[in-house]
């Protein structure tokens, strides 16, 4: 509770500095936060109570964005965990796939837009594929690292008691790899928000936070652009908090064992 109050205080201080700083600078590219918040309210949160005060613009842009993000994150996370485990556990799979995966990992998605377009076409499929392709890597690499650094004696214990492959995977390797996997998932979560914005620059997009944001910039509606930025920041912050709650649940043993002593 005290740290929460402390954090709120720090945040408040920073917003104040931001407000004062931008007012003094008077640069139209950097509107003060009060202007931004007013714009956010007008644009998204001044709707009727029936829609939880969301405006049509909010329903039509924020929700689709979140949907894309959620789909992309889920798909990318799943793919990353499965591939990461495969690569981390099997020398054979590693040999076959590692080169190709490392190749794909280095490819800048904007250069592949045309290829995505011919393969997936306009719309949701392309966007979700784009997000998945971008966020899978941190999950994949960290999971592989986690799967590889399981305590050797744990593996041997599993072997001695002749645990089945599935049992070894789900009861020994996965729990050990989980802390590292979570580092990857946390990276992927905010990344999925970023890539969601990119995905809304893709040909044919007609809605979304990223769409609004770039449209605002191309028409120099700078407060609206900042409204998008701030919304992304707030969403990122909230998603991260939710993530941390889940993580604390899942990894309670890890935290307890690591933090209790000392």
């Amino acid at each position: 509770m005290r740290t929460a109050a402390f954090r709120a205080l720090v945040l408040l201080g920073l917003v104040l500095v931001w407000e004062v700083g931008t007012r003094l600078a008077g640069n139209p590219f950097f509107p003060p936060p009060s202007t931004i918040v007013a714009r956010m309210h007008a644009m998204w949160f001044s709707g009727p109570p029936a829609t939880l005060f969301l405006t049509d613009a909010a329903v039509g842009n924020i929700l689709p964005s979140l949907g894309r993000m959620a789909l992309g994150f889920a798909g990318g996370a799943l793919g990353g965990v499965v591939l990461g485990l495969a690569v981390g556990l099997s020398a054979r799979v590693y040999d076959y796939l590692d080169g190709v995966l490392q190749f794909l990992r280095a490819i800048p998605p904007p250069a592949l837009v045309t290829v995505f377009l011919v393969v997936f076409g306009f719309g949701l499929r392309m966007q979700v594929a784009f997000i998945m392709f971008s966020i899978v890597w941190p999950v994949l690499l960290n999971t592989a690292d986690g799967a590889r650094s399981v305590e050797p004696l744990h593996l041997e214990t599993g072997q001695v008691f002749r645990l089945s492959r599935a049992e070894r995977l789900f009861r020994v390797i996965l729990p050990s790899a989980l802390p590292k996997m979570f580092a990857g998932l946390r990276l992927a979560l905010s990344l999925s928000l970023i890539v969601m914005v990119f995905s809304e620059l893709l040909p044919g997009t007609t809605n979304g936070i990223g769409f609004q944001l770039t449209d605002a910039y191309s028409t120099f509606d700078l407060p609206a652009m900042w409204a998008g930025i701030v919304l992304l920041g707030v969403l990122g912050y909230l998603l991260n908090e939710v993530f941390l709650i889940v993580e604390r649940r899942v990894l309670s043993w890890h935290h307890a064992a690591r933090e209790l002593v000392g």
Binding site: T3, R7, V10, F29, V87, G88, L89, S90, A91, Y94, Y96, L97, D98, V100, Q102, F103, L104, R105, A106, I107, P108, P109, P110, A111, L112, T114, L117, W137, P138, L141, N142, A144, D145, A147, S149, P152, R165, P179, F182, L187, S190, L193, I194, V195, V197, F198, L201, G210, Y217, M225, I229, L232, V234, G236, Y237, N240, H254, R258, V261, G262
Partner: protein, 271 residues
């Protein structure tokens, strides 16, 4: 690099391993070739692999392309180094002083999801559009994997190892640098490997969206605005970027194996 397998398989010989790698790469190339040649994807927009690779090799001889490549390389290298130099100490700080972590978390988590597209004009406005523009964006994006892996790595350190050093009267800083850091170093290194990829992507992407002068991304952009778009050129550029990623990853993995022999040898992996 052998992996801990579910069942204890005998490590394959280097020859076998290399042939598997070759098979993997070949299969991937064959897939593209097939998709393109059969018209599953319009070959005008996804040329066959042979054509891409042929074009890539031809580009090597083009001094203009080499300049583009070197410029990107420079931005990438500077960006990655700066990110690592910033992120590791920052991660150590945030990972070991809960108060600072608490104070900064809302800000950090707020800043993190801001996409570079939104930042491109703002950064240009504040620090200009030269090399420093790309480098700033690269640093901003590739900071996170290193930062997070450092923080999570610290959490995985065996508390008894820390207690051992503390019991000899070493202060928190010594414990951090002599126990927590080396113990989490392998995971931090994985973060650096992740960041290397992110930095590469960001370098080229920024160039594609907002680069001028030189850079592989600029090369790709110009190939894209030709009529008709020079897809073979674009994908040849992509090919070199991807290949560079493979090489960098391999070098980093080799460096890790050298630096963390204790980590791998303990797990029965041949060094």
């Amino acid at each position: 690099m052998s992996a801990q397998s579910l069942s204890r398989a005998r490590p394959a010989s280097p020859a076998t391993r290399w042939s598997r790698r070759a098979a993997g790469a070949f299969a991937f190339a064959a897939l593209i070739e097939l998709v393109s040649r059969t018209g599953l994807a319009d070959p005008e927009f996804l040329p066959p692999a042979t054509e891409i690779v042929g074009r890539a090799l031809a580009l090597l001889a083009d001094p203009a392309f080499r300049t583009h490549a070197l410029t990107s390389l420079l931005a990438w290298a500077i960006g990655l180094c700066v990110a690592a130099v910033l992120a590791v100490p920052l991660g150590l700080l945030l990972g070991s002083v809960p108060l600072i972590d608490a104070a900064t978390r809302s800000v950090v988590e707020f800043l993190r999801p801001i996409p570079s597209v939104a930042l491109i004009p703002l950064v240009a406005l504040v620090i200009g559009t030269g090399l420093q523009h790309r480098v700033t964006l690269v640093v901003y994006a590739s900071l996170w994997p290193i930062l997070y892996n450092t923080m999570y790595g610290l959490r995985g350190v065996d508390p008894l190892a820390k207690e051992s050093l503390r019991s000899y009267g070493f202060g928190p800083l010594s414990v951090l640098l002599r126990v927590s850091l080396p113990s989490s170093a392998p995971f931090i290194a994985t973060g650096v490997r992740l960041a290397a990829g992110v930095a590469l992507i960001l370098t080229v992407s920024t160039e594609i969206v907002a680069g001028r002068g030189e850079g592989i991304g600029v090369f790709i952009f110009f190939a894209g605005i030709a009529v008709p778009a020079r897809m073979a050129d674009i994908l040849a550029g992509v090919f070199w970027v991807g290949l560079f990623g493979v090489v960098v990853n391999a070098l980093l993995v080799a460096a890790e194996r050298q630096a963390f022999r204790w980590h791998h040898a303990q797990r029965g992996e041949p060094s």
